[in-house]
Symmetry: C2
Subunit: 415 residues, 2 copies
Amino acid sequence: MSSRSVIETSGKKVRTKNISRRVRKIVISPIKEMSILADTAAQESKTKIISFGQGIPYWDTPDNIKRGIVRALDKIEAAKYTLEPGITELRELVAKNIERSRRVPKVSKEEVMITVGCQEAVDCAIATVIDPGEEILLPEPAFASHIEQIIQFGGVPKFVPLREKNGWHLSLGECARRITKKTRAVLISNPSNPTGMVYSKSELTALSALARRKNLVIIADETYDFLTYGGAKHFSPASIPWARERTIVCGSFSKKYAMTGYRVGFAYAPEGILYHMLKVHDALAICAPAISQLAAIAALKGPQTSVKTAVRRLAENRKAICRELDALSDILTYEKPMGAYYILAKLKRPNTDSFRLVLKILREASVVVIPGGAFGPTGEGHIRFSFAGKPEEIKTGMRRFRAWAKKWKKENYAL
Amino acid sequence: MSSRSVIETSGKKVRTKNISRRVRKIVISPIKEMSILADTAAQESKTKIISFGQGIPYWDTPDNIKRGIVRALDKIEAAKYTLEPGITELRELVAKNIERSRRVPKVSKEEVMITVGCQEAVDCAIATVIDPGEEILLPEPAFASHIEQIIQFGGVPKFVPLREKNGWHLSLGECARRITKKTRAVLISNPSNPTGMVYSKSELTALSALARRKNLVIIADETYDFLTYGGAKHFSPASIPWARERTIVCGSFSKKYAMTGYRVGFAYAPEGILYHMLKVHDALAICAPAISQLAAIAALKGPQTSVKTAVRRLAENRKAICRELDALSDILTYEKPMGAYYILAKLKRPNTDSFRLVLKILREASVVVIPGGAFGPTGEGHIRFSFAGKPEEIKTGMRRFRAWAKKWKKENYAL
């Protein structure tokens, strides 16, 4: 599967001696490969690279959180391992937060563990529900890492193509048809990275009913739960009383509080499932970083104005980038994102290898975009734009991209 | 394998519906189970629990490191994902540090990645070298988590019993006899947690030669490389020129700089192996916490006096606890630790179930020790003491333990 790697597409030779088949099959998520390649390119060129790549909010962590960190440094607590499920106060705050934000009644701290970002929460969920050779339904285009995470634990991502023409929504029939005796779970990203789609309540209720009928666990990556546009509403399957017993919610502080570097997130699951997830968490990380847990406490206890500002900034960015992309309708089309901060744009030129294309764009336009093929087969022929960057960089970057696109068209879309 | 869990030994019922066989087979490391049980016991009782359990240095992170964190908060770098292999400056500093501390010539930053503690470095190594069903030689008593980490990735820990009478050293013959067609690596903890044994240069040279002959990877967990006593010297297989190409060193900032809560460590491996380990790291954590990486930079660039103080404090603790244990020779014997800060003491009473025993000790003496059975079959009939706690707590704790031991003897060692 080396074709899923941008770095290997660029010609890198790879050692195979002493390397497991498992790891030969996975890739560094092309989202991060592009960051690495951009870093190398930046060292070699004089032009500043502009990134529509990795999804990182452009502003700094709010001051009240930083002050919380400085206060925490005075206590020895910051230096030491925390209890393995997380600091008790933080687990309680997250439980309360889930009650409010997801409308789930009576969440106990015993159903919450604090993780090394949402990423590790998803790992714990996957390892807990599948054995090697078993399958997880993965509506795709999917978050690139979800594919690697499933394979890494010996599982098989069972792709369910989303319907681009229908705003990237799910077809329940497509889902049901792919269930086999080996299917153990369905893993969704909601709001979706990379499509910006927000699952509707009825869509998730139907999916949950299917999961119940087929005894599947629902793993919901809800990193972007706070971030929807134009009246779209986030809905969590955990809020369906009869679905709660089979739902694992994975959440994050990274995007909501501009804390991507802190690596702190959470998992919320029935106690009986969480008990097993904790074992995986222990073997992966021992505990989430104490200092980041203390920062998360400050984030949840402090004023939430920074979250409103974040949503407003991203809504403005969305408007700006959509305007730019509308002007590029000769080379691409796209579905308007209803949540998160990504757009998966379809290239009009058929059969364009997205991995080779993004290398060309980086080289020629000093702009980072992510190859759609990284998100699953339905993503091929697309490129993903993150719009969490600075407004002025979005402007400059899109100007470069437009100029490059014109040239590319003149070259008759050569790669 | 529920007998490896203290919590399950204490009678907890566990959900199995929707839970993978893989995860049903692993446990939360009993080291952390004891922390959880102690926390619950502390809430229920009025006596302060004294812990000889989880290995956490008792002092706070040095001031120069904390000042480094406060300075780092001013830069937006602390808020954001770092490049996935780690901050370049830190990788360079670690490379230099490996050259000096392990006498490995010409280490490049391309051979170093920064991880979520040593724990995650070991996970990345394991996933990279084995496929489900394959084996890793594990000299035991081994660090408890190493057992779970191997099983979690579908592997089989192939136990090689260490020789207690020989200061817990390795028998190369025992090692060689356990190699099969499915063996891919050997995983050592050096200095050893839980035995305090320090592998000698000749011992590791012979082991490395065996690894070369059988095409095995050597994974060396060197968390305690800085911490040896009485003239013992730490030696790394990475410093053997012909072994370097098959050696993965996993290291830590946790114990050396009193930073266990920060979750920052590193892996050092040949570039061709590290390339694959990075894929696992990406899927597990994206990157190590930025703030902790910045703290680690401050640790490596700052004065190293705190490390000398750490070694002195722990050498004093070692003397004190050995004196106490010497006075308990009617119920236990032990090998003097030459490195790390653990003692694995052998109970004189044969066939004592260490899991039930530690629950009894916690209940009756309000003292935490770790069941030897957590470290592998050869560890059964032993209990582990960490001596990284405060000197006055070691004193009080051992007083309680002595009183309890007397009573236990009177009860004719009932469980």
